[in-house]
């Protein structure tokens, strides 16, 4: 006579599924924010009429020392256009958003070559500014 062996089943506890899903979601949200430039010091200029802007493919910053950064890494103005072009890749026009964060004390000599480089790379330029009412 054969004695049937009791089958052992190992199931994943289903009550943990919500937590696992949530953690995965957070993980991908953080990965998506690869272009972190929070360490770059700058103060935005103010303008009366500003609007909420879409998320960018790249972010260019001119900091308080008037140095240029691409996605948080310092870069020279000569290299900016080619680096931006490779970052933007084949994205269609209208979705090639590039954030330009210029320190409020910057002069035309600092920001115009950067704007020209963004234009050369075919980026859709968005100036990051603060609404004037917030300050006053």
């Amino acid at each position: 006579m054969k004695i049937q062996r009791k089958k052992l089943t190992a199931s994943i506890p289903s009550f943990a599924m919500g937590d696992i899903g949530f953690l995965l979601l957070i993980f991908f949200v953080i990965l998506a924010r690869a272009q972190d430039d929070s360490h770059v010091q700058w103060q935005p200029a103010n303008l009366k009429e500003v609007e909420m802007v879409a998320s960018p493919l790249a972010s260019v910053t001119i900091d308080t020392g008037f140095k240029t950064y691409l996605d948080g890494k310092q870069i020279s103005n000569d290299e900016l256009a080619s680096s931006l072009a490779s970052l933007l890749g084949d994205s269609p026009a209208g979705q090639r958003y590039v954030f330009l964060k210029v320190h409020r004390e910057a002069k035309a000599a600092h920001f115009e070559p950067v704007i020209a480089a963004i234009s050369e790379a075919g980026g859709d330029l968005i100036h990051i500014l603060e609404p004037k009412d917030q300050i006053q």
């Binding site: 953690l23 949200v29 200029a45 103010n46 909420m52 409020r104 330029l125 968005i126």
Partner: protein, 140 residues
């Protein structure tokens, strides 16, 4: 005589506290990082070097200095400039006619520049930057 009922104390499982702390850290990290940003979009024609100046003579020319704006040779204040550029662009229907060439002095501050460029775009102009290119000439 009253009998005291023993209180049942339920401790949260200690094994979950690290998970809770981790989730709280992530939550605050994401809240701090994902702040909506505000700004303005600017349409710029693709940069190219132009040697031929024939077609450019029809375009409006704006020079920006730290203290004033010069539109086609006449110096203006920002409010005046807004009205003049609007009036100048109103009659122009073709895209090519609405190109406004902007030349800035190197010392022009960014907040002033952005106000002028916004005025041009709000008036229906297409902003084009005129940059001075550096050329090294060796004298023998």
């Amino acid at each position: 005589m009253k009998l005291k009922r023993g209180k049942v104390l339920v401790d949260p499982p200690a094994s979950a506290s690290s998970d809770i702390a981790f989730i709280l850290i992530i939550f605050f990290l994401v809240c701090a990082a994902v702040q909506p940003e505000t700004g303005i979009a600017q349409i710029l024609p693709k940069t190219e070097e132009k040697t031929d100046k024939k077609d450019q003579s029809q375009n409006l020319e704006v020079s920006i200095t730290p203290s004033s704006i010069v539109l086609n040779g006449s110096p203006l204040k920002l409010e005046e400039f807004r009205q003049r550029i609007k009036a100048a662009l109103e009659s122009k229907n073709r895209e090519a006619d609405r190109i406004v060439t902007v030349k800035s002095a190197p010392e022009t501050p960014y907040p002033f520049w952005i106000e002028v460029s916004q005025s041009i775009e709000q008036a229906g102009g297409i902003l084009t930057l005129e940059l001075e290119s550096e050329r090294i000439i060796t004298v023998e």
